[in-house]
Symmetry: C2
Subunit: 363 residues, 2 copies
Amino acid sequence: MSALRFVDLPSPFPFRRGGAIRGARIAYETWGTLAATRDNAVLILTGLSPGAHAASSPDDPSLGWWEEMIGPGRPIDTNRWFVICVNSLGSCKGSTGPASIDPATGRPYGPDFPDLSIEDIAAAAWEVVAALGIERLAAVIGPSMGGMTAQALALLRPEACPHLVLISSAPHAEPFALAVRSLQREAIRLDPDWNAGRYTVDRGPIHGMRLARKLGVMTYRSPAEWKERFGRARIDQPGKAPFDREFQIETYLESHAQRFVGSFDPNSYLWLSRAMDWFDLAEHGGTVEAAYQRMAVRRALVIGVETDILFPLAQQEEIAEGLRLAGAAVDFVALPSIQGHDAFLVDFRRFAPPIARFFRSIG
Amino acid sequence: MSALRFVDLPSPFPFRRGGAIRGARIAYETWGTLAATRDNAVLILTGLSPGAHAASSPDDPSLGWWEEMIGPGRPIDTNRWFVICVNSLGSCKGSTGPASIDPATGRPYGPDFPDLSIEDIAAAAWEVVAALGIERLAAVIGPSMGGMTAQALALLRPEACPHLVLISSAPHAEPFALAVRSLQREAIRLDPDWNAGRYTVDRGPIHGMRLARKLGVMTYRSPAEWKERFGRARIDQPGKAPFDREFQIETYLESHAQRFVGSFDPNSYLWLSRAMDWFDLAEHGGTVEAAYQRMAVRRALVIGVETDILFPLAQQEEIAEGLRLAGAAVDFVALPSIQGHDAFLVDFRRFAPPIARFFRSIG
C-alpha cells in the first residue's frame, strides 16, 4: 500500500545551473485536511535520504520517518494542520531523479541528469504546493538538507513562507561537511560498478555505497552515543577471515549500510550530495545576512544539537541570528541530545516540546 | 643520506597473539650522546605513520617529523638527553613489517605477517633499548599510537619506565575511533588491487589507500581549523569532469592522500590500524585502573587537545587519573589547539612549553 501522490512538473522543467527535464513529477504524501481557506498547510522538506512517507496514514499504515511528530494530538497536530511531505527532486522515492527514465532516450537519465541544486528542489516542491491550490504556507519545516531547501523556498517565495522551522541545517556547508560528502562521492565513483553512472539495477556500486553510508552514519551520530551504546563490546560470533568485523560498532555500521544499499539509488545520492555542497545562501544577495533580508520570515524556530558534527550548533546560531537581524521573531533551541545530527529522528523527548510549542504559537 | 640504524630482533621473535618472524630488525635513529652512566636516554614511540626520522642530524639533514621538539636547546634538549626514535614493528620505514621479505619463502610476508599487537611493537622497541645497553629510560614519549605503545612498554618493563609523556593517546580505543579505522581498512580491502594482501609494488590498492588517508586526515584535524583555513574557497582551475574537485578542502585532502599512497605500505597500514583497535589496557589486570597500578610510573606528563575527535580529551583525563591513582605525579595539560589530533605535529607554540618543563623537572 502506498499513500504517495504525484504532481507533474511543468515540462520542460529548467534547472538553475542549466539543462531541463521533461515529463517529470514529484511524489508527496499528506495528512490531515486542507481548510477551505487553504491557510493551514505545513510543508515538510526532507533530509537527503528519506522519502515522502513521514508518517503512517490509512493508505499506508507503515511507520513513517517522523511518525512521532505528525498526527492527531502530536506536535504537528493533524487535527489542526494539513501536512504535506514531498520527496525531493533528484531523489528516488517516487520523484524524478537520475534513476528515472529519460523520455528522450527511453533509458535512465543516469549521468545525463542535469546538475541539481537545492534551489531546484525547492522550486519543484513549490509545484506541489501550488497544485494543491495553496498560496501561502502556514509553516515550512526542514531538517538537515531539508532546512537548506526550506531556506531556498523562503527566498523563491518569500510571501508564502512566513514561518520556518529549521532543524540541524545550515546557510551553507562548512569544509568538514564538504570533505565528508566529497569522500562519500569518491567512494561511490571509485567503485568500478558505478561505471560513470551507467550501472544497471542488478549491478550497481554497492561497495562504494556501503562505504559512503558508513561514513555518513559516523557523522550522523556522536562518539558519546556510541561509547554509551557499544563501548568496546565484541560480536558474539566474529567472522574467521582476517579483518572481519569483530566489534559491535562494526556490525551496527554494516547493518545500516546494507539497508541503505538496497533502498537508495547511487546516482541520486551523488546528485543530492553535491547539491548540498553547492548550496550557499550567500549567492542570494551577496552575503548570508543579505539573503535572510530577502526572505519575509515573521516567526522561526531554529533547533540545533550540541553533538552535531555535520551541521554544528554554531551554524544554527548563525541562522537564528540572521533571521533575527532580518526582523523575525526567533526561538533558538540548543539541545543536549547525544545522537548528533540524527537526533531529530530519534530524540523525540527533546524535540517534541519546542516543535509543539511553535505550532501552538502560530496556531 | 640516512641516519637509520638497525637492531636485529631475537630470532624467532614471537608475537603476542601467536606466530613468529625470523631475521627481523627494528630501525631507529638517535640524537645526542648516551651518558657513560647510560641514564639519559629518552625513547620516542611514534604514531601510525611516521618513521624513526624525528629530527635532522649530521647523517640525515632532512627535517624530521618532530624537528622543532628535538635538538640542542629545544624542549627535548640533546645537550642533555640521548634521544632514540624507533620505527614500529610492522611498519615500513626500515623495521620489519608485512612488506618485508619472509626468509622462509623469499617473498613479502603480505597476509602471512602474524597478527600484530601494540604489545609486540613495545617488545620490539625494547630490543633497541636493550641493544644500546640501556636498562632504565629517563623518559618514554608517545604521541597517538605511540602513547599506546609507551603504556604497553611501561607494563612490559615497569622498572625501565619511571617517566612517561603521553600525548593525545588512549588506554584503549572508543567506538568512534574503532569505526574510523574499520572503515579505513574496509576501503583498502575493497580495492581489487589489494588482492587479499598479495599486491605488487607497481600495482597496489592506491584507490583504497587514498580513501583511507583522506578519512584519516578528516579525523586528525578539526572542523574549526578547516573553517579558518579553507572556508568555502574554490579551486582556481577545477577539473571539467562531473564531480571533479571544486573546493580547496578537496585539493588539500587529495594532496595528503597522494603523498601517503606513495610512501606507506597498505598492509602495514592494515596491521598497525588493527593493532590500535585491539589494544586494551584493561587486558593487563582486568581494568584500565589496575593496569596503571602494574606500571611503576613516578612522574608523567599527559597532554590532550580540546578539538581531538579521534583520541578525545576525556581519554587523556582518564589516563592522567589512572596514573595519579597509581601514585604518579601527573601534569595534565589540556590545550585549546584547533588542529585536533595532529596538533602535536604542528602547534609547537603550545606543545613546546609543557614538554620543555617536564624535561627540566626530570633533568
